[in-house]
């Protein structure tokens, strides 16, 4: 009896939990862009090397990108962004870890679009703030897409803009996220 129970336990724990792994989706080429609008200048930059992981069962969602992957139309802007504003050598990554609060309403097995709220910790320039933003989860031809657009005050993240260019950079930056996932 004891040996039978022991073998049963061994069998249960040796079975790979593929049903759990099937709930996790990821991308390593998600898109995050930001936009600054002022009277004098509009600045935009995009990072297409964003890692994102989504757990469709728990609603956990995370994003991580390397700051020096943001591409600006002007090389000088890119240089200033990395060296002076983001200090990318000191703070190489920006991350977000949070939860999609209404994950259970999403039917991941059928195509459709759902408005969601995502709450979590956004870390930029070594500063972490809890944010709550609206987003959208779309299932198109069986593929999951997550998108969100929200604004962030740059002073909240201790990003200092020299006064000589402060009228060219908005106090609030618009961040846009767009990720298409594959199953882990």
């Amino acid at each position: 009896m004891n040996i039978r129970n022991a073998l049963l336990v061994l069998l249960i724990f040796s079975v790979k939990p593929t049903f759990l792994a099937a709930q996790v989706y990821f991308t390593k080429n998600g898109s995050v862009s930001f936009f600054s609008k002022t009277i004098l200048e509009n600045i935009t930059a995009t990072n297409n090397e964003t890692i994102s992981i989504l757990n469709s069962q728990t609603g956990e969602i995370q994003f991580s990108l390397l700051n020096n992957g943001f591409h600006f139309p002007k090389a000088k802007m890119e240089e200033d962004f990395n060296e002076d504003y983001m200090e990318s050598e000191k703070y190489p990554r920006s991350t977000f870890k949070g939860i999609i609060s209404d994950i259970n309403k999403i039917d991941f097995n059928n195509d459709g679009t759902w408005a969601v709220t995502v709450t979590g910790d956004l870390q930029i320039h070594g500063i972490t703030k809890t944010i709550s933003v609206p987003g959208k989860i779309s299932i198109i031809n069986g593929k999951i897409n997550a998108a969100a657009t929200f604004t962030v005050p740059i002073k909240d993240y201790n990003i200092k803009i020299p006064s000589i260019v402060s009228n060219k950079i908005s106090e609030k930056i618009t961040i846009s996220v767009n990720c298409l996932y594959q199953k882990k």
Binding site: V24, F26, K28, N29, G30, S31, T46, N48, E49, I51, S52, I53, N55, E60, Q62, S64, L65, L66, N68, G69, H71, K74, A75, K76, E78, P92, R93, K97, N178, L180, K184
Partner: protein, 144 residues
Amino acid sequence: MQRKSKRKIVVFVALLVALSAFVGYGIWNKPHRDVRNATPVKVNAATLYKILSGKNSSDKSNFNNKVLSVSGTVKQVLENHLRQQVILLKTDIEEGAVNCTMEEKFENVKAGDSVLIKGICIGYNAGDLDLPGDVFLIRCYHAD
């Protein structure tokens, strides 16, 4: 004499202003790094991944933010949100890759091909949840 001196000063200041404007314009409009013609650091994909994903940081500066020429076997060919081609090169880690966003499309490339890709290495990045990260290269070209 005084008039001549004043004129000289005005001309000198005007030249200085013009020079500053010229230099400033040049700096503001300086081009992005030339990847195509740069002399790259040569490395294979598996070695690059091992070094940049490892905990020992001493060798990383040889590759981070440098133009590299990476040799490897194509694992997968994808497209990103902007419809740019992304080529993943195999490493010794099943779910880890050298992730190359192509500036120009690498024609007729497919999984299993041996390739040489040149680009700027921005580093290694990973998420949580047991998923190995990738080494990322941007502004990549097919190197001969």
